[in-house]
Symmetry: C2
Subunit: 692 residues, 2 copies
């Protein structure tokens, strides 16, 4: 195989215009920043989406251009600002305190010692750095940029002559041991996160030093892996997504080919011979293209299929896209919690069997929610189907957001749907500990940071004929080329107190003077009950519409009001989902609610709650200490049993021993994501039904 | 500390008559076999109970004497014979095939190579050897005895000069590393099982070579651990039970003191500094005497508390006994499956939080059921409370027996209460694999073997005034001194087809001519509905009686008939046990029933079952291929849902989307223990209720 060097990249082919003169390799004109900004540290807005299909890609929708998507207020803005001002700094300190930065310094020879932490600890730095990159895209900041440059230089200083870069592995293993334990040593995984950070830094901050590091890594990898090299890949996917993105940024076809190689080699034969606990854990029992249902380690599977979707988009591979859609549909139907949480098992952080969805021990790792958002976002781009935006919304507000405290600096690794009285905080990841500032295995915190920092771009997309609003957040979204706009621009500003209030106001800031299609998603809970006005006039919204599409000649100053129905509702589950039998979950808008002891009277625990599903819960006064979360008052009862019924063996059904007594009670529910911000007390999402 | 050598043992004190002349140390006259049998390999029956309190111990009930307890027919006899004829031989072959015997040969220098298997792999040999010992007590056999002697000699050959004996550890670690990783290296655990085998061999087969090995180990341990030595113990309990039993057999007080030391040092300070996953896993977060609820690794906790109960019995320690009773009661009420299964979590094979009892992922390790039987048996001896025999019964017929195939040679490590369609056999221990001939971690198979082989003794006990029948099995039980009987003997022969038939016939074989108390336990399901006759005359059984006590002058030839009520019944669970909400379990007699696809019509899966709890299931014709198990016909329906209800997100409760359709169906249930003997198909214990 020929080895294309970074200084003389192979020309891009079939991927739109390329800038072969750039020292960072070919780039797509449509998303590459102006070349003068590459090294100058432009202060302009450059926030670019987490996945940016090339012009030739098979994508129905396109991310907005850098600078054309901005959350400026409301629910998510508050959280983004905390992430920016508190979490990124705190993360930097944690990376230092955990020895993660130090590992790089030791490799570079500027410090002495042994490696700290997990074999994949390097990746914590990369995810944090990717978050910083997105924040620089949201708004430049001298101190943040200095941190980014310092850390980039640190990473670069640990790269070996031949391009190899893995600080912990280099310190713990000899060069001869490189790539000898691909199942567990996470070398390709770390590269994947490095590459993602590199592309994010280049796109969002014009910082290209890490991109050069990344390209050297790719060149190095191509000397080892590939159709003419080793037929092998890494135990933990993410390199697939990362390489496609690097291809998108550079236009270098051989990078896309390497991505496809890593995707397809997996499970083709025995990919990880002898590796415990078995190929299913690594999503390698069968090839991606033959998979019917996700299995094994949840984050591994989700990253892999997000990468497969990228590949399908860039290859125009309809068959592969259909496969990823089918697997995603199976995942939602049989292995997804009401919160969007995924991965039922603590053991091996794995997906369970279909409908194995324990509420009290469900793992629902925060990183799995993030992986699912990444996958759904790519499926949305590929297909334009609103169902994928529905999934993103549920994931964001529930499974993802529960993983971080209101302060933005404390995290849950695990997001079970229940905590009972008497639970022991026996493991570091246990929810009984409450959220924590960092973890021995610190994958989740920086993953949360990069998700917050890149959130602006998940809100809306563009197509040739207009703009699609998928999520409702205060801010501005434009079809134009960034902050500069342009004559063909459709720019919409949104103002809303969503998700606590259903009113979404849209203001047309700029319009091209000819007809454009403005698409507004109607979330599932409001279908058949959404109202829309344009310039004060009612617009008919079909009852079952998943989205409303307005084809109009918009004018600057046009106002739209979308009123979404936030009437609280109880939802049930499939009859095979045994863990939720005889219980309902409570939702309002996109929020799944939970009962937490903090809101109940003293001496009453949610462990004994039952609810009356015939009575619609009523919103109460916003809770200031929960950032104005709107509670719901739920009619029901406190259940108690006799001493006999509390003893084992279990009493005969319907017997006097089995009798329960019920005392009427009104329970207060709060959004699930807001639990465990006032200490850690019993909490539950699934609410037992009062039986007749 | 003084070091008592095995050839000059310290005199026993406060523990009854001792035989100081024996080369194996002091022994209790009441349970030691005649000294001439010690080395002669007597062919007589010597089956002695798994725990034999000394005469001075605080025990309300006493195990029957060696030879005075014999299961001779019926349900358990069939299984014991398969264990004897098939499983023990198969186990010998597995121990060879797995390299477990070979580890000892390598240490002894008769073979070259590296250690095979788990660090605690030695213990597999000891548990198997203990089973052989009990079988030699049941009935001598030249070939079995030869195997026992061969393996004993092999073990002895691996003992080091100073008494240390651990084949795997010796091969993998330097002498300097002994006892440096007490949390995980299982050295004391292996000793515990060796000692139990040694006592069983001496008691049941008159074979004392292993006892000498054991006593050298104890002397060795006493040079290292103790009040004046290291304040430490092993990560996995069993040494506590084992040392008390060795004390009971030898009368050597310092052995009991060492047992108490190991018991009390645990959790007193930080017992396993830095050991993952934390002290709770090792039952070492707090001392035993301060524990309120079991936690962590289930088998560790159960063995520990069984040992604590032994200690309480021998020390006459009422406070410790009360503590173990309270912890056992909490365990039953909050952490025990309907099957008696214990340990809800796969991760770390651990107890869950109170009421965390997932049915589809419950671990319920077979060894945990065995540990619980051992604990309950000791509590029964200590207190005489029938509730402990109730627990033994439920554990034996369900949680324990499910762990072995009808053939006796295939095993489940894990005993979840449900297997669904689409379950992946991704882990070796997964029930989706079906039972297996052996495991990488083979703790369960030989543990099952020793339980079957010692079962005769769990059936009945003696007190000064009579005999107590706790379990109903065909055989003979006597208060006399073994097969020889004696003038004071009350001997009862029992004939029954229990658990499939409720009729238990008791025949008085021998009686002393003066009044004796014969106690018959009334199992909980038959309380208020048991009928008893003596010499053809009705005996009044109080409605709530846990046992019936007959104080009579019995005569040889007297007949009693106890008719237990086996009407099938549905049982429910505590309202906090969310995993079983809206469902019932089906029981008949001591058997928990399950639905398995093998018994249902084609194209119908138990995943879709619902049952009508108002209709009493009817017994059907015995299933020959399941050893005559009696099935039950259960009225109910097949549940199906629409496509909309099968999709995610979950449909609104009570909406058209959430509607289910039901088709009337009769389900066939079989005893839970018998599942997975006809292939591995979906199975469930908890049966969803048909809703109104």
């Amino acid at each position: 195989m020929t080895h294309a060097s970074t200084s003389a990249p192979a020309p891009a082919s079939g991927s739109g215009p390329a800038d072969g003169a750039s020292p960072t390799g070919d780039r797509q004109a449509h998303d590459a920043p102006p070349s003068e900004s590459l090294t100058s540290g432009s202060a302009g807005r450059h926030l670019a989406a987490p996945a940016v299909p090339t012009d030739s890609a098979r994508a129905v929708l396109r991310p907005l251009s850098p600078g054309a998507a901005r959350i400026t207020g409301g629910f998510w803005h508050t959280r983004q600002q905390r992430n920016r001002t508190a979490a990124l700094r705190s993360g930097y300190e944690q990376l230092e305190a955990s020895g993660t930065f130090r590992n790089f310094r030791i490799v570079a020879g500027t410090e002495q010692g042994e490696a700290s932490g997990m074999i994949f600890q390097d990746s914590d730095v990369y995810k944090w750095l990717e978050a910083v990159a997105f924040e620089l895209g949201r708004e430049d900041d001298e101190a943040l940029r200095a941190m980014a440059r310092e850390v980039t230089a640190l990473i670069a200083s640990a790269q070996q002559e031949d391009g190899y870069l893995n600080a912990v592995h280099t310190l713990r293993h000899s060069p001869a041991e490189r790539y000898t334990n691909l199942a567990w040593n996470h070398e390709l995984y770390c590269y994947g996160h490095l590459i993602q950070a590199a592309v994010a830094l280049a796109r969002n901050a014009g910082e290209t030093e890490l991109l050069e590091v990344a390209l050297r890594i790719v060149d190095h990898l191509r000397t080892i892996f590939g159709p003419e090299g080793r037929a092998a890949t890494g135990g933990h996917p993410v390199i697939e997504m990362a390489l496609v993105e690097l291809y998108r940024y550079t236009g270098r076809e051989e990078i896309k080919e390497l991505a496809r190689f890593f995707l397809d080699v997996r499970g083709r034969e025995e990919t990880f011979p002898g590796a415990r606990p078995g190929p299913g854990y690594f999503s390698a029992r069968v090839p991606v293209r033959e998979t019917t249902s996700v299995e094994g380690h949840a984050v591994r599977a989700l990253y892999l299929f997000a990468g497969a979707t990228d590949q399908a988009i860039e290859d125009g591979d309809a068959e592969l896209l259909a496969r990823t859609e089918a697997v995603f549909a199976d995942l939602l139907a049989t292995k997804t919690y009401v919160t969007g949480g995924m991965g039922a098992r603590w053991d091996f952080e794995a997906f369970g069997d279909p409908f194995e969805m324990t509420t009290d021990r469900g793992y629902a790792e925060t990183c799995a929610a993030i992986g699912a958002i990444q996958w759904a976002w790519r499926l949305l781009l590929a297909t334009g189907k609103p169902a994928y935006a529905d999934a993103v919304e549920r994931l964001l507000y529930n499974a993802f957001l529960a993983g971080v405290s209101l302060t933005g600096t404390e995290y849950f690794y695990v997001n079970s749907l229940q905590l009972r009285e008497g639970a022991l905080a026996d493991e570091g990841r246990s929810i009984a500990h409450g959220r924590r500032g960092w973890f021995d295995c610190a994958c989740c915190p920086p993953n949360i940071m990069r998700t917050f920092a890149s959130l602006d771009h998940l809100v809306a997309t563009a197509a040739s004929d207009g703009l699609q609003i998928h999520q409702y957040a205060t801010g501005t979204w434009s079809t134009g080329a960034g902050a500069a706009g342009g004559s063909d621009e459709l720019r919409v500003s949104v103002t809303t107190e969503y998700p606590y209030d259903g009113l979404v106001r849209l203001h047309i800031d700029a319009a091209p003077g000819s007809a454009r299609r403005l698409t507004l998603r109607i979330p599932p809970f409001s279908r058949g009950a959404a109202r829309l006005t344009l310039r004060g006039q009612d617009v008919q919204v079909p009852g079952d519409a998943e989205q409303v599409e307005l084809v109009e000649v918009f004018s600057p100053g046009d106002e739209l009001e979308l009123q979404l129905d936030l009437t609280p509702r109880f939802v049930g589950a499939h009859h095979r989902l045994d863990a939720s039998r005889g219980a309902v979950a409570l939702e309002r808008g996109p929020l799944v609610y939970a009962l937490e002891n903090a809101d109940q009277p003293d001496a009453v625990t949610v462990d004994d709650a039952a609810v009356d599903p015939a009575k619609i819960p009523q919103p109460g006064a916003a809770i200031a200490e929960l950032d104005g979360a709107v509670p719901l008052a739920v009619d029901g009862s406190v259940v108690q049993v006799s001493e006999a019924a509390a003893a084992w063996p279990y009493p005969v059904h319907g017997s006097a021993d089995a009798a329960e007594t019920r005392t009427a009670a009104t329970w207060t529910a709060i959004p699930y994501f807001a639990w465990a911000n006032r200490g850690v007390e019993p909490m539950r999402v699934w609410l037992p039904l009062e039986e007749e």
